[in-house]
């Protein structure tokens, strides 16, 4: 599984939305499924699947799929 496939799968399972809905522009709190509770599930799934530790700044900053990619980029996970 490529990194981008993995990312889409994590978003899709954590938020309970179809993979097709996981686009760069998808934003936190833009759908009922991505609320603050689901956000914490998402964070811990990202940590498990990519074997990283996210801090509180990362959680607050992760406002969209696009930003999530940038934050994972800081952990040397790239999506190109």
């Amino acid at each position: 599984m490529s990194q981008i496939e993995k990312l889409i799968s994590v978003f899709s399972t954590s938020l309970g939305i179809p993979e097709a809905a996981v686009t760069d522009d998808l934003q936190y709190n833009s759908l009922p499924e991505w609320d603050s509770t689901a956000h914490m599930v998402l964070i811990s799934e990202l940590e498990n699947q990519f074997d990283i530790m996210l801090d509180t700044d990362d959680i607050i900053d992760m406002s969209s799929v696009r930003v999530a990619k940038q934050i994972l980029g800081k952990h040397n996970i790239t999506f190109e």
């Binding site: 709190n29 700044d57 607050i60």
Partner: protein, 366 residues
């Protein structure tokens, strides 16, 4: 209206956000905070008719935070005070004041809600760092279950959850200690850095007392407890901050313990205790103490009603609120802990919460 108060507000807030949280001397801080709170005042006058009516007789030319209009906090129980369109309401926070029948209602849009989380994180990072730790919540998971009733306790826990991993609840659905859950958490994380969070009286009644009566003791010597809420619910038991800390140490080994003060009507801008037990004002917020009768602001060391000022709420007019809590400014810029700005203590509630002119505003120059 020619002036765009919203952009003025956001620009001022950005400047505040870039400042160190506890290092600005009071004068410098007020110079930055005043324009932000003033633009919030104008913004809410434009967007909330009730607020505009209440504050009609504004001080003509306010220059100080204490001269800007403020609302009695109880107004949020009596009126729906909102500065946003119905469509923009993201959540309505209702505070579950145990004694009062009507809960306060606080209208949040996404923007204000996100700002509250961000500032809460910025403030708490000063005390517990940026890393997330295994977290034991001294509360029941049921407080988060009913999403339709988004209450202040749930909101507090949710805000704090950003700091935790492997979130474990120490109480069960019936608010009884869940000893197996506590023991399991202890087995996994004893003698490691962990975070405990709860409301002061619940930590005392349902956690510390329980452990003591059980004759048990836990080893969270590398842990930190954050707890919020005053001591008024523990007054009959004559528990003060020092006794609390001692009991905490005996039951859990925790030496790092911070109380914080904050209003449900101003989520995010909280006042955290330092190593000297003094509550400190962060750059985003401030405290004024007023005489309960004259409502004039009082000197350092004098007891009075606490007025809380926050730079965060743009969706409801809650930037300056007169609380029903009594407190004292202990000093300005000179706490031995090194943090600048005002520091204060809270002494419980005004016995009979009859703040003068409850359906009116209060003018700073009074």
């Amino acid at each position: 209206m020619n002036v765009d108060f919203k952009s003025q507000y956001l620009a001022g807030l950005e400047t505040l956000m870039s400042q160190p949280i506890y290092q600005l001397p009071q004068m410098e801080k007020e110079a930055l905070l005043f324009p932000v709170v003033e633009s919030l005042h104008h913004l809410h006058r434009d967007r909330c008719e009730k607020y505009a009516n209440i504050t009609r007789q504004n001080h003509s030319n306010p220059r100080l935070l204490s001269e800007l209009p403020y609302l009695a906090v109880r107004l949020f129980k009596q009126l729906e005070l909102s500065s946003i369109n119905k469509d923009d309401i993201f959540k309505v926070l209702s505070s579950s004041g145990t004694t009062s029948q009507t809960p306060a209602q606080v209208f949040l849009d996404k923007e204000t809600s996100a700002r509250q989380s961000k500032v809460l994180v910025k403030i708490l990072q000063q005390h517990i760092g940026r890393q997330r730790l295994p977290m034991l919540i001294i509360d029941s998971p049921s407080v988060l279950k009913d999403k339709s009733k988004f209450n202040a306790r749930g909101a507090g826990i949710q805000g704090m959850a950003f700091f935790g991993r492997d979130l474990t609840y120490a109480l069960d659905e019936n608010m009884q200690p869940n000893w197996p859950a506590i023991e399991q958490f202890h087995e996994k994380y004893a003698n490691q850095p962990v975070l405990l969070f709860g409301f002061t009286f619940m930590v005392w009644l349902y956690f510390l007392e329980f452990i003591r009566n059980k004759g048990a003791s836990l080893d969270f010597s590398q842990g930190t407890l954050l707890h919020s809420g005053g001591w008024k619910k523990l007054e009959d038991q004559k528990v003060d901050n020092q006794q609390f800390k001692l009991a905490l140490y005996e039951a859990t080994g925790i030496q790092s313990c911070f109380n914080f003060y904050g209003m449900a009507e101003q989520v995010g801008s909280i006042f955290v205790e330092c190593s000297n037990g003094h509550l400190h004002t962060p750059v985003f917020a401030d405290i004024i103490v007023r005489d309960p009768l004259s409502l004039a602001s009082v000197e350092i060391g004098q007891l009075g009603l606490l007025q809380v000022i926050s730079s965060l709420p743009s969706s409801y007019p809650g930037q300056s609120l007169l609380t029903e809590d009594l407190g004292t400014i202990l000093g300005v810029d000179d706490c031995p802990c090194g943090q600048k700005g005002k520091y204060f203590s809270v002494h419980g509630r005004l016995p009979k919460t009859e703040v003068r002119g409850c359906s009116d505003t209060h003018q700073g120059a009074a």
